[in-house]
């Protein structure tokens, strides 16, 4: 995008002034280089979201933003139900509650080097990844509903997780307001045999090493130590979420028309929060959030079992589990008052700053861990929500590196085999059912995650705590 199209507020804040049907401005947080490399569609989609009824303050766009569906990926928008505010299935995304969890092993990298290959093979064997993989769990209709209501708490009750995890999962592991009756039988059917599966695309399980610490105090409070090993899982609500997204996107088209909402793009299909379709979507989406929380808890349990086999005296303890495709009811200050808002985060991570009442005691001083997935080769980051995130972005930050190149282009440029060999030479073991899938996810196809998190820090969204480098990557 051409930087001249924006009003530049400071080094990392770029404003689109409200014109035409825009009700609020658009604000993109990024450095100049990131702005230049962003697709013009991000601008267009930001402008479109700003036209929706009941939107509050601004549309915020994170430094890793790219062209999405209706909403830009990396978009944050909050709506007030009392002002005709809407909820949008496209604003949440197909993979409802897709997110990241990081677990600490307290092992040193040197402890795992001798078994790195066996550990990679065991994880790949135990954790179903990729299309065509099926989990060991089949849910009957009763258990399906219990899972959709119970989230990670349900998984723990069934023996696939540990109770202390709950306080380190958003919503304490269980999203309230889930309505199983709002979830279609087709969505449930798609999930029947998918619990505990990773999925594919950019989803992964990685064994990582803490390779750089930026903030000693925050790292200590998170339990992150130089050269120690962590396990990070990136996945979502699997087929259930995808089907809910698909069905409600369809149902919201006529709902928007009935409410007299002029949609600049069909993908922005939405319904007033205070409407029948809006309420049904909320009930279904919250059930899908529980599905994602349960799924990550189960995969975390599988990882624990594998680690316990190799290292009987260690346990994986949860640092945090946070989603980046959601709509949540939160209280934020806007236009001088505290208001209850429906905050859409589409490819954006909640990033509560220090002292937020929603954080567990152990994390309250430092702020919420913000888990940023990078690419297979470059590594990931742990950030902590900044005190100014509330004011800047309804307490939100980036969620990943963001793609710099399409899958199509990546496939022309790289071979999966070559990537696997190159990474192996650097001590990173990849396991995946598909060489083509690896080529599509080539490290070079992603933006520089370092530049993305630096921009998030400079913009006052979240500060860098530690950088993680991959050691083993299980890719769906």
């Amino acid at each position: 995008m051409e930087p001249a199209r924006f009003t530049r507020i400071d080094q990392t804040t770029w404003q689109i002034e409200p014109t035409g049907a825009m009700r609020v401005p658009g604000i993109i947080y990024a450095d100049e280089d990131l702005i230049r490399h962003m697709d013009d569609k991000v601008y267009e989609q930001t402008v479109n979201v700003a036209t929706l009824p009941g939107i509050v303050k601004a549309v915020y766009v994170m430094p890793d933003a790219h062209w999405g569906y209706g909403f830009p990926i990396g978009g944050v928008a909050a709506f007030d139900a009392d002002e005709g505010g809407v909820i949008s299935a496209g604003g949440v995304g197909f993979d409802v509650s897709c997110g990241v969890r990081t677990m600490l092993s307290h092992l040193k990298v040197s402890d795992i080097v001798s078994v790195q290959k066996q550990l990679a093979d065991s994880l790949y064997q135990q954790i179903p990844a990729g299309l065509g993989s099926k989990g060991a769990i089949t849910l009957d209709p009763f258990e399906m509903d219990a899972m959709l209501k119970g989230g990670a708490r349900w998984a723990i009750d069934r023996g696939w997780g540990e109770t202390p995890d709950l306080e380190r999962i958003e919503e304490r592991g269980q999203m309230a307001g889930a309505e199983t009756a709002c979830v279609s039988n087709r969505a449930k059917e798609r999930q029947r045999r998918e619990m505990g599966t990773l999925g594919s695309g950019n989803h992964y399980l990685e064994v990582q090493a803490v390779t750089e610490i930026f903030d000693e105090e925050a790292a200590a409070s998170f339990g992150l130590k130089q050269e120690e090993v962590v396990v990070t899982i990136h996945c979502g609500s699997r087929g259930l979420g995808h089907q809910i997204g698909t069905e409600y996107l369809r149902d919201m088209l006529p709902a928007a028309a009935a409410a007299g909402i002029a949609l600049p793009d069909r993908e922005l299909a939405c319904a007033p929060i205070k409407s029948e379709v809006g309420q049904r979507y909320l009930g279904a989406m919250r059930a899908a959030v529980n599905c994602a929380l349960a799924n990550r808890e189960i995969i975390g349990h599988y990882a624990r079992r594998v680690f316990a086999h190799f290292f009987p005296n260690t346990d994986l303890t949860l640092l945090f589990d946070v989603s980046h495709n959601t709509c949540k009811v939160e209280t934020h200050k806007a236009n001088g008052a505290s208001r209850q808002l429906f905050v859409h985060r589409k490819g954006a991570t909640r990033a509560f700053g220090p002292n937020h009442s929603d954080l567990p005691e152990a994390l309250r001083r430092t702020g919420q861990p913000v888990l940023i997935g990078g690419s297979m080769g470059t590594g990931s980051y742990v950030l902590a929500g900044s005190p100014s995130s509330e004011e800047k972005s309804f307490a939100s930050a980036c969620h990943g590196a963001g793609r710099a190149m399409s899958r199509h282009a990546a496939l022309r440029q790289w071979s999966g085999r070559q990537i696997v060999d190159d990474l192996a030479a650097r001590g990173i073991l990849i396991r995946s059912p598909s060489m083509r899938g690896i080529a599509e996810e080539a490290p070079g196809a992603y933006k520089d995650v370092g530049a993305v998190v630096m921009a998030a820090e400079q913009a006052g969204l979240a500060k860098r705590v530690a950088r993680l480098r991959p050691v083993i990557c299980i890719k769906g």
Binding site: S133, K134, G245, L249, P433, R436, G437, G476
Partner: protein
Amino acid sequence: MPVKGDIWPNRWEHFPHDADVGIRGRGATLAEAFEQAALALTGIVTDADIDDLASVEVDCEAPDVEVLLVEWLNAVIYEMAVRNMIFGAFKVTIDELRLHGTMWGEPVEQTKHAPACEPKGATYTALRVAQEPDGTWSAACIIDV
């Protein structure tokens, strides 16, 4: 590695999207363009040959022909997901805004098909179904993967 659709540029193809994949099917008729679009969907998952061991039939309808494409592709994605199958041939008939589709395929095998990724859903982004100036039909949209 070749992108399969590029070998037959006039039948189906993939086009770039930042995070996901665009698919476009072309044909002498609307129904044929829909069949080719479904092949392009399969092309997202695998380059491998697919045997026609079983067939599945679906029906869908929509308020307009573009939404009908999304409904059709989502019906294929649903059958892939719940049957754990991959489809290599499609037959579509369209009567006004009602579609009847038959798909032939086989169970997904990771060793045989090495599935690159799993389609989550067809989107309304870059959605276009139209008759081109040369009389052929084109059916395209972005698939979230």
